[in-house]
Amino acid sequence: MAALLGLMSLGMVLRNLIKGLRVRQGSKAFEGIRWWKLILVLCTLVGYGIAFETFGFGICTFLLMVLLLGVIGRKKGWITLAVSLIIAISSYLIFVVLLGAEFPKGFLGI
């Protein structure tokens, strides 16, 4: 019974959501949005969460920066790599070494 009520509520929510979207097609709320960027950012953040404990803070931060700067920021390869490396190293030094934050070390120990 509860599941049925839940499904019905979900159906109503979806119906209204689609209706709302249709109504707003004339308005500017969803105009010109670069969805791929938003989806990529969200996927990158989820990926960071998934990989954080396995790969450790250092590597994950570096990969996060490469993705955000290179793919979304569309910077040149060497700039992306250099900036990502600088950010990863400096954030490791500030948060782990200086502030003593406890982050997962991953298989490489960083």
Partner: protein, 500 residues
């Protein structure tokens, strides 16, 4: 009273606290200048950092960020027509026009001096109101607290730009989220859907960081990342005598409006700046010139937002009720340090109360120095490209949210609230009622249940006590007012700062 003020200055002027105050106002100005991250995101980001600080220093720093952003936000509004903060949106109208006419210096000057004057008057008001209010609040029992918080939520939803019904829905959703976790009377798990991580409830940091930090970045990324930075020459930061003559009443009116709207639940700096601009336009002899670069159009909202930022501390420090989301974060920050804001704060922790209040005065003086002679530095900060800024903000969000409980689950929660915070405004829903209701939820629930225990289950307890009854009358009046379309139109025009 004077001895408390002296004591407050003694606490605030300790080298350690001076440093925290400086860090706070510096970060506040920086965040105010940089569009893309606001005070709410920054404060929630820094909450984990404050765990290791002494309580007075932590709150002085967090408070500094809040009123610092009010100063910093005006710089971008005036120089590049991009509001650094929501509370400085209205400053763009006349501030940028003044800059285009070559009067960027006086605009920045009047914004900083106006903020300083408003801040000073507001602190004096805070000192005189807070002490008697906290004495009166000692007479408050759970029914009064419950009624007061319900009133706060209804006032917040009433003042929200847009539909009140949608705001009420958001407030209810916020309350629901606050109920997740163990019931604090019976220790029964509630709404955790089998997730062990949710037994402690939804944390304030993932919720606020998601709703404001991540959502803000998604909003900025949805369109082009290129920002046009104009080259503006700034000369003569001191307003002329004529400017002062024209702006002095605007500053005073802005301060008074800001002070009273800041104390109101849900009021805060944003509403104060819009309302003061609208009123300034109404009382002006030349309303048609507003928007073309009149100095009152800068002085009034800038004074109002700073006065409101400081007045907002009154309900938090005296009643223990945060009037807006930012005060809610400070409320959380105080609780983390085992300090319960409320009527007992002045008696139990005079160092926190008087130290924080007096640090605001010190902070205002620091901000005056930071914002006028160092304006060139902030203009350079504006040129930091967003493609470099947003990955850093995202990284800080991830690190900040993880370090609270060392929990990956909190990262996922933050992402979820980020998506929610991004989509809600698209459908006309404001996230602020949700966040404030979530913060007030636990106190609201415990007050309700304590009241009902006192009355053995009878709801008449809420209507038989005068303070509680008065609050309910306000709630009913606001809900009835909402039904009149004429009044609604007037409210919308005031919020938009137009047609008044």
């Amino acid at each position: 009273m004077l001895e408390y003020v002296v004591y407050g200055f003694q606490v605030a002027l300790q080298p350690e606290n001076l440093l925290y105050c400086f860090i706070g106002v510096f970060i506040g100005t920086l965040v105010g200048v940089l569009p893309g991250i606001g005070p709410i995101g920054t404060m929630s980001l820094l909450i984990p950092v404050t765990f290791r600080l002494p309580p007075v220093g932590a709150i002085i720093m967090l408070a500094g960020i809040y009123y610092g952003t009010q100063y910093g936000g005006s710089t971008t509004s005036i120089l590049v027509n991009i509001p650094g903060e929501a509370s400085t949106v209205i400053t763009c109208l006349d501030g940028y026009q003044m800059a285009r006419k070559g009067r960027a210096g006086p605009a920045l000057g009047i914004a900083a001096f106006g903020s300083f004057i408003a801040g000073t008057i507001s602190i004096v008001g805070l000192i005189f109101v807070a002490y008697p209010l906290s004495k009166a609040a000692l007479k408050f029992g759970p029914p009064e607290y419950f009624a007061l918080m319900c009133m706060g939520l209804v006032v917040l939803t009433f003042l929200t730009i847009g539909s009140m019904y949608k705001a009420l829905m958001m407030a209810l959703l916020g309350l629901l989220i606050s109920f997740v976790g163990l019931d604090f009377f019976t220790s029964t798990p509630r709404f955790n859907f089998g997730f062990i991580d949710l037994l402690d409830g939804v944390g304030i940091v993932p919720l606020v960081m998601g709703l404001y930090g991540i959502a803000e970045i998604l909003n900025n990324l949805e369109s082009s990342m290129d920002r046009e930075i104009y080259e503006t020459e700034i000369k003569g930061l001191l307003p002329t005598l004529q400017d002062w003559i024209v702006a002095k009443w605007a500053i005073l009116r802005g301060t008074i409006i800001g002070f009273f709207l800041g104390v109101l639940p849900g009021g805060g700096a944003i509403l104060a700046s819009f309302a003061s601009y609208a009123i300034e336009k109404r009382v002006s002899k030349y309303p048609e010139k507003f928007g073309t670069g009149v100095i009152e159009g800068v002085a009034a909202p800038e004074s109002a937002n700073n006065a409101a930022a400081q007045a907002a501390f009154i309900p938090l420090l005296t009643l223990g009720i945060p009037p807006n989301v930012i005060m809610g974060i400070l409320f959380g920050g105080l609780l983390i340090h085992n300090i319960l804001p409320g009527p007992f704060l002045i008696k139990d922790h005079p160092d926190v109360f008087w130290g924080v209040v007096m640090s605001m005065y010190v902070g205002n003086a620091m901000l005056l120095v930071l914002n006028l002679p160092l304006i060139g530095i902030w203009v350079k900060v504006l040129k930091v490209p967003y493609y470099l800024l947003f990955p850093l903000i995202l990284l800080f969000c991830l690190i900040g949210v993880y370090s609270v409980n060392n929990s990956i689950f909190d990262i996922y929660l933050m992402i979820l609230f980020g998506m929610v915070g991004y989509l809600l405004p698209k459908f006309g829903f404001e996230p602020s009622p949700l966040a404030l209701a979530y913060i007030l939820g636990p106190i609201l629930e415990s007050s309700l249940r304590q009241s009902l225990s006192m009355s053995r289950g009878s709801f008449t307890i809420f209507f038989s006590r005068p303070i509680s009854l008065a609050c309910w009358l306000v709630v009913v009046s606001l809900l009835i007012l909402q039904m009149f379309p004429h009044f609604l139109k007037k409210k919308i025009s005031i919020m938009n700062g137009s047609k008044v």
